[in-house]
């Protein structure tokens, strides 16, 4: 998998929101994403992880041109997009599909699910939009024919999620960008959606960019992980490496914050205090220093650079954690009975 050229490569992609106000009195533009680089290879599952305000959703949309990047470069199969106009994104959009966090809202409320599933084919003019074929498509995601005539709001969370996946699959995309694919789903259903992703990858060598905050899910599905904090990459690397031995204190804090379903492993204190600062008031130096338990004077003044490490890992920290300490998966440490 490693040797293959990237399917898509974002190189120092930034998104700014122009400041509001009168000319000359206008505030400085807000930087939502700051030079985020990320590659996805064919058949790879990359997880983009961050809390609210980390810019993870914006990144997914910027990659498909739904939000206009302010600088940076996007390469598809090694060929850079000439600019960020809608026309340039056309070829990419035909090869990629976007799954929204709220699947119901991503369907036209006045159209039936079946029509919406056929939509990508109708737009591209490729593939059959005959009912029998749409039924087959729905079958791939485990939805029976009777759902096709329903309106979006008449579906449950899990069904709507499947319908959205079916719509994405209808033109066999090479890349699926999924924003919080398990949000709002019961654990009993969650696994089904993730299994579906794994099946799709197996059958079509589809690559995935999963945008999520749910680390317990990431653990099972990710090949590589990229951690965002305030629109900047703070750590990235192979999923096993990052989850077993996080180098950045923020990654550590995220892992420790995830409540463990074991009453004997309660935490005496919350692993990290305070909340994510506003991007309008980014802290100076390392942006995590306001919440970092290991912050030193240097962290308050000097911003760390994202440094490459062995094994394709990157960390942006002046005082990274030792990489060797391993955290056992909670599943192993559970139940003695």
């Amino acid at each position: 998998m490693r040797e293959q050229p990237p399917l898509i490569e974002a190189d120092r992609l930034s998104v700014d929101v122009p400041g509001r106000g009168l000319p000359f009195l206008r505030r400085a533009p807000l930087s939502i994403l700051a030079e985020v680089s990320l590659t996805v290879r064919p058949g790879e599952i990359v997880c983009l992880i961050g809390e609210s305000g980390s810019g993870k959703t914006t990144f997914g949309r910027a990659l498909l041109g739904l939000v206009r990047p302010s600088s940076g470069r996007i390469e598809v199969d090694g060929v850079p997009l000439p600019d960020f106009s809608a026309r340039s994104f056309r070829a990419l959009r035909r090869q990629a599909a976007l799954l929204f966090q709220d699947p119901v809202s991503s369907f036209n409320p006045r159209q039936r699910i079946g029509a919406m599933m056929a939509e990508p084919r109708a737009i591209a003019g490729v593939g059959s939009t005959r009912l029998a074929d749409i039924v087959a498509l729905a079958g791939q995601v485990g939805l029976s024919e009777r759902f096709l005539a329903r309106f979006p709001h008449a579906l449950s969370g899990g069904q709507a999620r499947r319908a959205a996946v079916a719509r994405a699959l209808s033109v066999t995309p090479r890349l699926i960008v999924a924003d919080e694919p398990t949000a709002g789903l019961d654990v009993s259903v969650q696994g089904g959606v993730l299994n579906l992703f794994l099946d799709i990858r197996e059958q079509h060598d589809t690559a995935f960019l999963l945008i999520t905050h749910n680390l317990s899910v990431v653990r099972h599905i990710a090949d590589r992980i990229v951690i965002l904090y305030l629109g900047r990459v703070v750590e990235s690397g192979r999923a096993d490496d990052v989850l077993r031995a996080p180098r950045h204190p923020y990654t550590r804090a995220l892992l420790d914050s995830e409540p463990v379903p074991d009453p004997t492993r309660r935490r005496a204190e919350p692993p990290v205090i305070g909340e994510v600062p506003s991007i309008a008031r980014r802290p100076a130096g390392c942006e995590f220093h306001t919440r970092c338990p290991r912050a030193q004077p240097r962290c308050r003044s000097e911003a760390p650079v994202l440094a490459d490490e062995a094994g394709g890992r990157q960390v942006a920290c002046h005082f990274p954690l030792p990489g060797a300490v391993s955290i056992p998966a909670p599943g192993r440490r559970m139940a003695k009975s």
Partner: protein, 344 residues
């Protein structure tokens, strides 16, 4: 100030009078849509009780029924439903309204919509203290500031003039908890209190709720579909499925030795408990049926279903070595089988 305890509080007699006492309580929407079926639930002072269940299990309906927040079409029945000494089944609307605050307060899933967007937080918190006619404005203000400080809000005085949209979700949830505490309720009901929050904030809010029990002596009923959240703060856990409580016990009993096939399947699906490297996550096939459709509502999805499961209603049996551990299942008392889920 005792540390978070795993000991079942109900272990030694004499027991203090329960804050919430429900016996065979049922709730239905209209005449034919049952949502909660014959629920028995007791919450004692300073106890944190959790309800786990999928969507459609009736756990939110149960929580809302305690505060009389159900829609007008809802009908409640039961043999006993006492909240802080008041019989809810007999209470009229005024009596129910009088219970909100002194007897029980609620924290909602989405703190962003739990506040009025056009009034300052200070104004909204002051309004909550309308029952206290005697204290002056300055005294009320001091109480509010103290409550905000207690839930860890930086610059509580400054926040009084803030509007809800100026605070993050996590901060607003803290304010919601402060608001609940101002009314000094006997019972705090939290309906998915951390679902809308980031993980780092979730850990802080759970910690806050746990420390409040120690400091304010409040009982908490927390509803969540997240097993980690339940494990983190509960003393006792009830597992709800299709309107019924199918298993109940101390948090240790439920997490160490789940007996009901549904509880076991739920644990088997929890991604944090599934060993990594499986690359295939277990699911519970099928959907939650309409409550009361069959004798055992889980039979249609159950992996260990037997003939008697469709012939007789499953009994509510004591189970295992943990005190107070009960299961509503035919096979449970016999098979202490380890959690097992199905992988498609």
């Amino acid at each position: 100030m005792k540390p978070p305890s795993l000991e079942p509080p109900s272990a030694e007699p004499p027991l203090p009078a329960p804050v919430l006492d429900m016996r065979h309580v049922s709730v239905s929407y209209g005449a034919h849509v049952p949502a909660v079926l014959g629920v028995d639930l007791t919450i004692r002072p300073r106890e944190i009780v959790g309800i786990i269940g999928e969507s459609g299990s009736g756990k939110s309906t149960l929580a809302h029924s305690v505060l009389g927040l159900l829609p007008k079409t809802a009908r409640m029945s039961g043999t006993r439903f006492n909240l802080a000494g008041t019989d809810i089944l007999k209470a009229d609307r005024t009596a129910l309204a009088a219970l909100r605050g002194p007897a029980a307060a609620m924290i909602f899933q989405n703190p962003m919509t739990a506040f009025s967007p056009i009034h300052t937080l200070g104004r909204q918190l002051t309004d909550l203290l309308w029952r206290d006619r005697d204290p002056s404005g300055a005294q009320k203000r001091a109480r509010i500031v103290a409550a905000l400080a207690e839930v860890g809000i930086p610059d509580p005085v400054g926040r009084l003039d803030a509007f809800p949209f100026q605070l993050s979700g996590g901060m607003l949830q803290r304010v919601a908890i402060a608001a609940a505490l101002l009314m000094q309720p006997a019972l705090l009901i939290a309906d998915e209190p951390t679902t809308a929050l980031d993980v780092t904030m979730e850990a802080q809010i759970l910690h806050l709720m746990r420390s409040l029990r120690e400091r304010a002596g409040v009982s908490i009923l927390i509803i969540s579909h997240h097993l980690g959240v339940i494990a983190e703060i509960c003393d006792r856990v009830a597992v709800m499925y299709a309107g019924r409580i199918v298993e109940e016990g101390t948090v240790e009993a439920i997490f160490r030795a789940p007996r009901h096939p549904y509880t076991q399947a739920l644990f088997a699906c929890e991604p944090a408990l599934v060993p990594t490297g499986m690359r295939r996550l277990p699911v519970i096939a099928g959907e939650v049926p309409r409550p009361g459709a069959s004798l055992c509502d889980f039979a249609s999805r159950c992996a260990v279903k037997a003939a008697r499961c469709v012939e007789q209603a499953p009994p509510w049996t004591r189970s295992g070595e943990f005190p107070g551990h009960h299961v509503r299942c035919h096979g449970s008392a016999l098979s202490g089988s380890p959690p097992s889920g199905r992988t498609p």
